[in-house]
């Protein structure tokens, strides 16, 4: 259970970084940390004690199938990691564009300039 608790701690730290920091690149880093926490949580849920990776080898005894860890969260997290990369690159592109337009990463300065 402590493992789940540490994952939630990591998620909350990412949330704090997202909410509290004025620097928009710091906000992006907070989202990346939350991404890590959720992915790790899903993989930990699928872990089996003494488990092996779900890869079938030649002349493997049939009883090894019982020791496989859960392959379903692994497949979905594989998708999620790659999507996280795409979304992060989009956010960094927005940050670079905002910097070119306003000359700063400070959220409070950027949000004051309206129109």
């Amino acid at each position: 259970m402590t493992v789940y608790f540490l994952c939630v701690v990591l998620l909350t730290m990412g949330l704090y970084c997202l909410v509290a920091k004025k620097n928009i690149v710091k906000k992006v880093l907070g989202i990346v940390i939350m991404d890590y926490a959720v992915n790790l949580y899903l993989i930990i849920i699928g872990y089996k004690t003494g488990g092996v990776a779900p890869i079938i080898e030649a002349d493997m005894p049939l009883s090894t199938l019982e020791r496989f860890v859960d392959p379903l969260p692994q497949a979905l997290v594989l998708t999620s990691i790659v999507i996280g990369l795409g979304v992060m690159s989009l956010m960094v592109a927005m940050c670079i564009r905002l910097y070119e337009k306003h000359g700063t990463f400070d959220m409070s300065v950027i949000s004051k300039l309206r129109g």
Partner: protein, 185 residues
């Protein structure tokens, strides 16, 4: 296979410390590198948890994240932002922390949340049993991605393509030149 809990705890504590450094440091480049250290520790943790495919993907993605984030920060000079402590944000984070823990305990506590090391494999049992005869893929994760749940992968490719298109559109140097300007030039 031995008990992996000590290694997992060590990696998780390392990740938490790396996140604290990344959040609290003033230098943006140090923050980016700390987040990447957290990502590499995550890759090692996946390796311990019996997920080599995820570990490889996480490693590759982490290198790309590092390159993209450094591109976003290193060439720009005015990156320091003087921050002041925001009590509202701290309170919001703590409230959400409590809400997540409370709802988690409420929903899963009574029905028997799976303990660490004892997963509920109701759906995956079928995948493990029929993966090789149905798809001829030795790696069950590959069988799930490319055969049992191939439509999810199609959706993933769509999302990835769209986000890259958006990034390219944002970073494009010049807009479209109209036909008359080309002819005039």
């Amino acid at each position: 296979m031995a008990n992996i809990a000590p290694q997992l705890y060590a990696l998780l504590v390392f990740m938490v410390i790396g996140s604290i450094v990344a959040i609290e440091t003033r230098n943006l480049l140090s923050a980016v590198i700390s987040v990447s250290a957290v990502g590499f520790a995550l890759s090692v943790a996946f390796l311990f948890l019996g997920a080599p495919d995820i570990a490889i993907t996480q490693l590759v993605v982490e290198v790309l994240v590092l390159i993209i984030l450094i591109r976003g920060t290193i060439l720009l000079d005015n990156t320091a932002v003087d921050t002041h402590r925001d009590t509202l944000a701290v309170v919001t984070s703590l409230i959400f922390f409590g809400l997540i823990l409370g709802f988690g305990a409420m929903i899963f506590g009574s029905r028997g949340f799976p303990e660490f090391g004892q997963p509920v494999m109701r759906v995956s049992k079928v995948y493990v049993q029929t993966g090789l005869p149905a798809t001829y893929a030795a790696n069950i994760v590959t069988a799930v991605i490319l055969d049992f749940r191939a439509y999810d992968t199609l959706g993933e490719a769509t999302v990835l393509f769209t986000s890259i298109l958006g990034a390219l559109a944002l970073l494009r140097r010049e807009g479209k030149v109209s036909r008359e300007e080309v002819v005039a030039a």
